[in-house]
Amino acid sequence: MTTRLFGEPIARREDPRLVAGDGRFLDDLGAGALAAAFVRSPHAHARIVDVDVGGALDVDGLVAVYTYEDLDGRVAEPLPLLIPHPSLHAPRTAHPLANGVVRHVGEPVAMVVASDRYVAEDACDRVLVTYEPLPPVVGIDAALRAEHAVHDDVRDNVAAHMVQEVGDTRAAIAAAPHRLELELQIERSASMPLEGKGVYARWDAADRSLRVYSSTQTSTSVRMALAAKLGVPVDRVEVVAPDVGGGFGVKIVHPWPEEVLVPWAAIRLGREVKWVEDRREHFVSSAHERGQQHKVRVGFDDDGRLLGLEVEFLHDNGAYTPYGIIVPIITSTQLLGPYKPGAYRVEFRSLYTNTVIVTPYRGAGRPQGVFAMERTMDAIAERLGRDRAEVREVNFIRPDEMPYDHGLIFQDGRPLIYDSGDYPASLAKLKKLVGWEEFAAEREQARAEGRRVGIGLACYVEGTGVGPYEGAHVRVETNGKVVVATGLTTQGQGHETVFAQVAASELGVPVEDVAVVTGDTRRFKYAVGTFASRAAVMSGNAVALAARKVRAKALRIAGEALEVDPADLEVVDGVVRVRGVPDAEIPLATVAVLANPLRYAFDEQAKQATQFAVGGGAEVPPVADDDEPGLEATDYYSPVRSTFANGVHAAVVETDPDTAEVKILRYCVVHDCGRLINPRIVEGQIHGGVAQGVGGALYERIVYDEHGQLLNASFMDFLMPYASEVPTVETDHLETPSPLNPLGIKGAGEAGVIPGAAVFAAAISDAEGLWIDRMPISPSELWELRRQKTPEGDA
């Protein structure tokens, strides 16, 4: 009897090879390939006066050195602007190798190809680049002051300027009984997966075809980009995402300079070439995110109900804008969370600086928006002397108001309409889980003992399952095994398992018989990619739809074979049988044979099929007009808009009165992502997100000095949390299914991290009686804040 697999916390199919050391990550491939390495700019802003590669040519094992002058055709053009937008009035992208100017430390200037990475780095050391340093622009304030420009033709350093408004916000604020103004800031951080980027390219000269492996979140898009850039026909390019050691957003950008240059070199040299990004490179030439400065003005009534909310923020987008302004657009819209803002106006400027580019990192602008909104809620509560949870509840969109149209445009270019969610219920669960009502007494008790404890809470809404589509192909083989392919990729989310669960549930086969392939353009060619908490929603539903088509076809054929009405059939454990009639059955494998009019008896299955008769007889073609051979189908899921998950987090912290160290006593999560395909995998995603939230709140900060030098380009000084820094997460969940997709699911990938900064700022504020408006916060910074409050000594 097949267990109902959808919703089961089954063990992961990908684990046996991963725990045994049999994973195939990028650098595990291409054993015989040449190694590429890059000469990168040590300056934040400089003109390239000369590149002298002579010294490199003497290095034993060197194969080639390339500079911008060597690039040809479209490879010499700037990298693509992936997501244009009318408000992005001054977009700029980089060249794969710098063309006369470098605009951040780490920008690639020359590529070396050699026998191995050691030798390649030796050769890089011998490339002599003469630079004429130019004044760098570092930090939002400097960018705004615009004494210097990152791009000569963008004198004010403003890449984009966008305003969205619903209602007359200024009037609403002016007329409100109460008003507050806040300034808030979140500093730059980074995705920082344990595995960096990597590209391995094979050019088959006989076939004139290119195969590229890339540690990417979107192999299908990399394929299109490479075909265009390298002038190779699309059908001669295949891109495969192998096992990928984490992405968290940084691997969605494409094509990276290296993604273009490594295949380009492979074609030129007629040799396999591989580039494996090292940790220092990742710091200075991948992408960062999170840095924003916010000004909030809010008008509210005596109950804390928002009447008007005006947000103006500045976003640091780094030196180039290949990914457009998705991050600040998400901030603008997701800032609203579960609340009705009354009138709402949001305005942002996205600014150039001479630093690494800024593209989505798990949360993708939401943490900043939630920080602004939740600090505002806390400030309102403090002003009115009200409970922080009550003030939030008063502003919630109610379940009976769903679907709720905010009147704004979301990141997918579609209306921001929340489809479902029960925010009061989520908050009630969280309050119970953490003991919200009882905490005031605990705080007092601790205070009496000389201890400082505090509690914070934060709510968020997350748009997930953004389109435009994903597709899946499902095929039942003649041996009964099911193969599923979808075009998006995997970086640890357990797709081989969850999509197998969906297919197995829909088809009625054991999950062990289902094999899933993701991220391989040889297997599925139309896809968007894995990001924005969309994979389960998009490909999960696509797999379900494709599997349903397969099931329908199977039942039709089985019905013919068994001479029964397909409506009387069910599929259990891979066998199609007549409900209630024990011996009237036919294995799905046999149905697969019958689905192909050409039945050479290569195996037992095919031989067994001969006992059944299907098809229309001698008067009709073996393959009908609207049919195809094989028990397989492709389908796509394309949503009218995103589906909105939500959650509430709470943290209890204790701060050391002397050292200002912050200890996390409890961390509670209530999340609602609709129906869960595999609860254990969802919970794992939440744990991981929370750890990144802890990191972003208390430890992680990318630090540039005024010269644009990255001061903490290593794991010694960019502080990702170890197990000692991450609390045990207590979770509870709600399921308000999504009405927008057949499976009723919503995304969960980013949930854990989104409210991190907000919740810790609130908890520390509560413990200390200090207003925290800037994150992350270190013990040193907390201690300095205490001093500012009471200059004569510790509080």
């Binding site: 050691y118 780095e121 050391d125 170890y722 820094e725 300095e784 001093r787």
Partner: protein, 294 residues
């Protein structure tokens, strides 16, 4: 991040090592644990022309305790010293400080002597040697010499070791009877370099009054800062000494700097707080009677 090329020597005896080091001169660097050196090589922040791998010098792989001191040979790994029972009995401060040094996996390979020679201003071992008044034993083809801790740590990442010299051992003297020690450190993450760390050694007299007390601090100056606390707590009963005052003395004595992890003022403040905490704990340990210790 791959190391640059170097000439590699792997001597089998100390004599051989000294000969190689003499020839290499400024171009030579000793490779023992490598936990500090190899990251620098991988990042190409250092490029010694010759590496002298001393991991074969079995005669230097020892940690011995005698009536005077704990003697740590150049190849004794942090973990070995940390877990050595005799060392714990003789000089408990070593294990107390080693527990905060990086992570166990690093301690399995890194060496105490290597840490001392590396002379990182945030290194625990230099402070321990300084606090105990220990010495470094150095050897070269020219002969052997002994350098006391006070003269060994010259500056940030700079020791008195000369080109051609090999540090063969570190000697940590036993504290006097009725002594207690403690180590307190604040780091951003568990196992990170200290934002500030303080070791305190307290010695009591027969009436269990504080006869001597001193502190050694890390990450608050270019080398470990040694501070005599006798003025603040000397002559006081072990459980009624003004450790906060001792902390104030230390806070005034250190001269830390700002960096991306902490301000100078915060470090200074921590030096005071950690001195008080370590002092209290050290005094309590010193006051334990032999019966209590057994």
């Amino acid at each position: 991040m791959k190391p640059p090329p170097f000439r590699y020597h792997r001597p089998s005896t100390v004599e051989e090592a000294l000969a190689v080091l003499a020839e290499a001169g400024h171009d030579g660097k000793v490779l023992a644990g490598g936990q500090s050196l190899v990251p620098l090589l991988n990042m190409r922040l250092a490029a010694p022309g010759q590496l002298v791998d001393v991991n074969r010098l079995a005669e230097l792989a020892y940690v011995r305790t005698d009536a005077e001191a704990v003697r740590v040979g150049a190849l004794a790994r942090h973990a070995e010293v940390e877990h050595d029972a005799d060392t714990w009995e003789a000089v408990p401060l070593l294990r107390q400080a080693l527990a905060d040094l990086a992570h166990p996996t690093i301690r399995n390979r890194g060496t105490v002597v290597g840490s001392l020679v590396h002379a990182d201003p945030s290194g625990e071992m230099p402070a321990v040697l300084a606090l105990l008044g220990g010495v470094m034993e150095l050897a070269s083809e020219q002969g052997r010499r002994t350098v006391p801790a006070a003269e060994f740590f010259v500056g940030p990442l700079e020791s008195a070791l000369r080109p051609g010299e090999l540090a063969t051992a570190a000697v940590f003297p036993r504290p006097p009877a009725r002594s207690g020690s403690a180590w307190r450190e604040v780091a951003r993450r568990r196992g990170d370099y200290a934002i500030c760390g303080v070791g305190v050694l307290v010695t009591l007299d027969e009436e269990r009054l504080v006869r001597a007390a001193r502190a050694a601090c890390i990450s608050v100056g270019p080398t470990p800062v040694l501070v005599d606390l006798a003025g603040a707590v000397g002559g006081r009963p072990h459980d009624a000494a003004d450790w906060a005052a001792a902390g104030a003395v230390v806070a005034a004595a250190v001269d830390p700097e700002d960096d991306i992890h902490a301000t100078a003022a915060y470090r200074r403040h921590l030096a005071g707080v950690l001195t008080a905490r370590a002092g209290r704990a050290a005094a309590a340990q010193a006051a334990r009677t032999p019966e209590e210790l057994a």
